[in-house]
Symmetry: C2
Subunit: 185 residues, 2 copies
């Protein structure tokens, strides 16, 4: 059975992240991926969860509190500043590109900050670690970001990184697709 | 860790094929996929393995004999005639598009017969079963077949089939990519 995009994103992280590692949710949004990562790394691990929107931070904070999570740091700042916050090797990361569901569609991730964040995280990513990027691109501004991110990742050196695209190609209405970058160094 | 194209092709079939089923290797080539499928379906199952080249049939026959395989039928005919040979529901199938390695590069799979074979097998494919297609396209004639096959699968009705593409996008020299079609009906 073929995994849907979100299931596949989680599957890839589950296969590559280890207990005790520090991992990143670059777009914490509704908090689901943050909580998923929190479970993967366990009590000795740590999740750095970024979002620029108060609504996202407070929703994630509430969910984390309800579950008694103690291994999450919420950061209300752009993931473009990720390098300021990373203190050690990163076991894996996830990005959801686009806008926060049920929120202001004018507030979207943008190519420049996304690529700055990718560069920062790649420089700390463990060997064989993955950055998983779920690319929503049907909204206004989505196509521009999609093309810039694709252009960036396809130019990553083949000897240093594997870059994989996973996509359903017979669906209407610009469905999201997945990119995964694996550090080979 | 990201799976390479051939590992991922086998992974998908392993996840979806059951013991006792009939499955198809549409391009038996050097026989590796035929033997892999033979193991997946077991002694009660059956593999129909097609190839138009004597060299492929004899290589596969030898390997199957060496391993004492009794659940393989080798068919020296075009997979375009698959409908003539299929007697029951199909649990899964694999295609390797291109030419037989270490053989005559002028003998290649071609769009028209590939699509005829896909149509035949899809009509017998079990619910949730997969056809996995490994698309080699760097050889002469490869681009034409690739585009025709992509055009065919992307037009498969979204409600009836999932069509997924898995590809490494930062590699040089036209690396193969994978297509998987899942029957939802």
């Amino acid at each position: 059975m073929l995994k849907g995009i979100l299931d596949y994103a989680h599957y890839l992280l589950k296969e590559s992240v280890e207990l005790g590692e520090t991992v990143i949710d670059a777009t914490c949004g509704n908090g689901n991926d943050t909580l998923f990562l929190s479970d993967l790394v366990g009590g000795e691990g740590h999740v750095l969860a970024f979002d620029i929107q108060e609504q996202a931070i407070s929703a994630t904070k509430q969910k984390a509190a309800d579950l008694g999570k103690t291994n999450i740091t919420l950061i209300r700042d752009s993931h473009a500043n990720a390098a300021d916050y990373i203190m050690r090797e990163i076991g894996g990361a996830i990005f959801n590109l686009g806008y926060l569901p049920k929120s202001d569609k004018a507030i979207i991730t943008k190519a420049e900050s996304t690529i700055t964040a990718l560069e920062a995280i790649l420089s700390y990513l463990k060997k064989d670690g993955l950055i998983v990027i779920v690319v929503y691109h049907g909204h206004e501004g989505g196509k521009t970001e999609k093309e810039a991110v694709l252009n960036y990742v396809t130019q990553l050196e083949q000897k240093e990184y594997h870059v994989m695209r996973y996509e359903f190609i017979n669906q209407k209405n610009n469905p999201p697709f997945l990119l995964a970058v694996q550090n080979r160094k």
